[in-house]
């Protein structure tokens, strides 16, 4: 378990990790209400976070450890396409700006905790709400599992192998999330993000300097991709992948705030202005992410070899280890330890928020809806706390018992399936024109197309620009060739985007059909003016008495 361990790195890592764990438990008393036995307290931190806390919380939530290792890894192995993370996180905020404040207002007036709560009230359909809740849980679970992949990547780089360390880390995480709820990741996010900012700023100054400048770095990248037989990689986008780049960025942006954990962060904020301010301030993280992506090229220049790679045998190894390997090669041990801690802690914040969000969906939209209709606020909080444990054990089991590849596949699909809740949630915030059963049909169609397209996409290993061997039959990526649809082109499109288009078409056609058949509309429990309510509104109570 501890062969070739770098003692200095491991010590710094462990100390920071332990300090953060203490913080996680102490968080229960931070800005605390009289008791945590209410879902608004445990699951939304009292719905009272100001601009700074929200910035750290949502930033820590969206820009996960997995993002931090996977985006540079993609740039390392494929080049420009990996940079989609930048346009993705640029366009997301202008897109959701007006939408989220509506969601915040209506949720605060009605005491909604999850997106499915809103769907239930707005469309008067418990079926649709259940579908949205299940979609959210299914999309979130593999995402939690992938945070473990992030921790594992840094542990591997420090020479620590085996599953026991991540079991210990996740057990501690589970314990303080159970204890403190959303306050734990909110407080830890301060440490996580501060460390991340320091590490990245140092990295983009020191590493290019050591490597002889940006010219050298991009020169090495160009040489690598020129030598590679894959026609799709390169420092610039290959022609056919431009549509994939744009639709992947747009589709991911549309999906991001449909994820339950993002909505949890938004609903925990104090008022509309906190959200608006954050839409302007969160791109600071996008900048950091962009710089991080460039670490992939620095790793090429520095000659970093992924752990487990064997270039002679053509074995690619684990590309997720390239950033930790780069830090290991470029930084003194103590600072590499800090950098590893930043990534490791970076896994804890989103994992905690995701498990809380999934637990809230379970409680509000399955437990209260179908199992215990008269649950007291205390029972709701208890149910969520227990569910958060179950979710984490599930994620841990998925990584340990199954191939981590399985979680990566699922997360790929996760983004695509969560996108299918867009008509019910995001469009639903604006109009009820789409019939509730058309929404259900659109969801089903989108899911089917999402699965079918990703199932069709193989993972290829090129031996020459035109010849390749298929290394994986299915779920090999999200770039769907338009030629599969009969178009005579080499262009590819993001599978999730295609699925969403089909979903929307079915929604529209279905609505016309259902209206023609006089199918009854659902009842709308919301009123127009409630979508603009702010904190000073008497209808908005800090902690609603009877939630729902």
């Amino acid at each position: 378990m501890f062969d070739d361990v770098n003692a200095v790195q491991l010590t710094v890592f462990t100390v920071l990790f332990a300090a953060v764990s203490v913080l996680g438990f102490v968080a229960a008393r931070w800005r605390a209400a009289d008791d945590l036995e209410h879902l608004d307290e445990w699951g939304l931190g009292g719905r009272n976070f100001g601009s700074w806390i929200t910035w750290f919380l949502i930033g820590g939530d969206l820009y996960t450890a997995y993002t931090f290792v996977a985006v540079p890894a993609l740039v390392f192995s494929a080049g420009a396409i990996g940079f989609f993370a930048v346009p993705y996180t640029i366009v997301v905020y202008p897109i959701v700006f007006l939408v989220l404040i509506r969601l915040w207002s209506i949720s605060h007036v009605h005491g909604f905790v999850t997106p499915a709560d809103f769907v239930r009230a707005r469309h008067g359909s418990s079926t649709l709400a259940l579908l949205v809740a299940i979609t959210g849980i299914v999309a979130t679970m593999p995402y939690i599992a992938l945070q473990l992949v992030g921790i594992e990547a840094v542990l591997k780089a420090m020479g620590v192998t085996g599953h026991i360390p991540i079991i210990v880390a996740f057990t501690i995480l589970a314990a303080y999330t159970y204890n403190s709820g959303l306050r734990a990741p909110a407080l830890i996010a301060f440490v996580k993000d501060t460390l991340i900012y320091i590490v990245i700023i140092v990295a983009v100054i020191v590493i290019p300097y050591k490597l002889g400048g940006w010219d050298e770095i991009f020169g090495a990248a160009e040489a690598k991709f020129a030598a590679s037989p894959n026609p799709g990689d390169g420092v610039l986008l290959a022609g056919p992948s431009q549509l994939q780049y744009a639709t992947l960025a747009l589709g991911s942006a549309l999906a991001l705030f449909l994820y339950p954990h993002s909505i949890t962060g938004v609903l925990a904020s104090r008022d509309r202005n906190v959200i608006k301010r954050n839409m302007a301030a969160l791109p600071a993280y996008s900048f950091v992410l962009g710089l991080l992506a460039l670490l992939g090229y620095m790793a090429i220049k520095a000659g970093v070899v992924p752990i487990g790679a064997d270039p002679e045998a053509g074995e690619p190894g684990d590309p997720n280890t390239i950033v930790p390997q780069l830090f290991d090669a470029m930084f003194p041990s103590w600072f590499a330890g800090v950098a590893f801690a930043a990534i490791g802690i970076g896994a804890l914040v989103p994992a905690a928020i995701m498990s809380i969000a999934a637990a809230n969906l379970w409680t509000r939209n399955i437990y209260v809806e179908y199992i215990n209709k008269d649950a007291t606020p205390k029972q709701e909080a208890k149910s969520s706390k227990l569910a958060s444990l179950v979710v984490k054990v599930g994620a841990l089991a998925a990584i340990i018992a199954l191939d981590p590849e399985f979680s990566i596949d699922l997360q790929l699909i996760g983004g695509i399936i969560i996108l299918q809740t867009l008509p019910a949630v995001a469009i639903g915030l604006y109009t009820r024109w789409i019939h509730r059963w058309a929404l259900v049909a659109g969801w089903a169609a989108g899911m089917a197309v999402g699965f079918w397209t990703t199932y069709q996409i193989p993972q290829k290993k090129f031996t020459s620009p035109t010849e390749f061997t298929v290394t994986k039959e299915h779920f090999g990526g999200s770039a769907f060739p338009l030629s599969e649809l009969g178009y005579d082109t080499t262009w590819t499109i993001y599978a999730g985007f295609l699925a969403l288009l089909v979903n929307l078409v079915v929604c529209v056609v279905g609505t016309f059909v259902l209206r023609a058949l006089n199918a009854p509309d659902g009842e709308d429990a919301t009123r127009g003016s409630e979508y603009f309510a702010d904190r000073d509104d008497p209808r908005v109570t800090d902690v609603p008495e009877a939630v729902g």
Partner: protein, 74 residues
Amino acid sequence: MSEQVPEGTRREQRSDHSPWNWLLVIPLFATLIPPLFNRTSPDLFGIPFFYWYQLAAIAIGVSTTLIVYRISRR
């Protein structure tokens, strides 16, 4: 629908509509059309255009959201 307006909520009969909201479209056009920036020159400190342009585009996103926020606050 004519509903009774609860006391003190007249201010909330507003909406989020504003012509300034259209500013939010700018970042989409600036970043979602790859042919606009899928090239290496001009470079900046050795960083190809493709990369520094998109990093710089973050400022476009920030300024538009900031302007819309400032105006809607009034």
